[in-house]
Symmetry: C2
Subunit: 152 residues, 2 copies
């Protein structure tokens, strides 16, 4: 984790941004909760535990900065709040999500499922793909099992 933090620090410095204590605290929260799809408010509350004096605006500004630098990705599952995901180290593309419509759980898929589809889009529609967002909505394994139990 320290390694990833150092890396992010360098990325910031490369663009002459500083890794201030507030920014560091924010990044640490994101690193600790890497797969949790936190909203800005979530991040704020967690950062506040480490650095109580931080303001919500700073969290927003930091998340926007990290987003510009492609360190985090901003996603939206349609519930009206932006969520922030740390990019996997060296990941070229955004990962995918499985959102359960029963329990709301979000699972991540880091496999590249879209290689062929992207090629098709580039060839057929002449669209130069830079990134993608893929989300499946449905019923997760756990909820399927629960449904079976309750009917038996």
């Amino acid at each position: 984790m320290e390694h990833r933090l150092e890396q992010i620090k360098k990325q910031l410095h490369a663009q002459s941004y500083k890794l201030t204590p507030q920014r560091e605290a924010t990044v640490r929260v994101l690193l600790e909760r890497e797969t949790d799809h936190l909203s800005a408010e979530d991040v704020y509350l967690l950062v506040k535990e480490k650095a109580p004096e931080i303001g919500l605006a700073t969290v927003y500004r930091t998340l926007e900065l990290l987003s510009e630098l492609k360190i985090v990705d901003r996603i939206n599952f349609g519930d009206g709040v932006s969520r922030y995901d740390l990019r996997k180290e060296g990941a070229e593309h955004f990962h995918h999500h499985l959102v359960c419509t029963e329990c709301g759980a979000v699972e991540e898929i880091t496999d590249d499922l879209l290689g062929d589809v992207e090629k098709l889009v580039e060839n057929h529609w002449h669209f130069q793909v830079k990134d993608h967002r893929l989300t499946f909505h449905g019923i997760c394994k756990h909820c399927q099992e629960t449904a079976i139990e309750s009917t038996s």
Copy 2:
């Protein structure tokens, strides 16, 4: 178009909702601008041309209703506003989008690109897929051509 409207009317009646003049005007706007990815505000302004007395809240309520009935899909391209797309007649799945990061144009793809990927997700992750959202971000054909021209 009248045919589609009749169909929607039946769908509403089946759930004991009425196709009021306001709702009809809203649906007509959506039918006329089927591929335009209108925001609620856009819809409101267009409906107002036909039915000036309508309120924004009614448009929101109608769009929510249509969304529940799966007549329209609510999408979010990450700019903070919800957009509404009429489902294609008989379309089982949501269609896909190509969003140009240069000019903001949104192109639709109605081809089913994800059949294989869905099967993989169901088999490998045991996730029962009900719907999906797939958006590619990149540079559209037109902007690619413009870029070439300006460098030559």
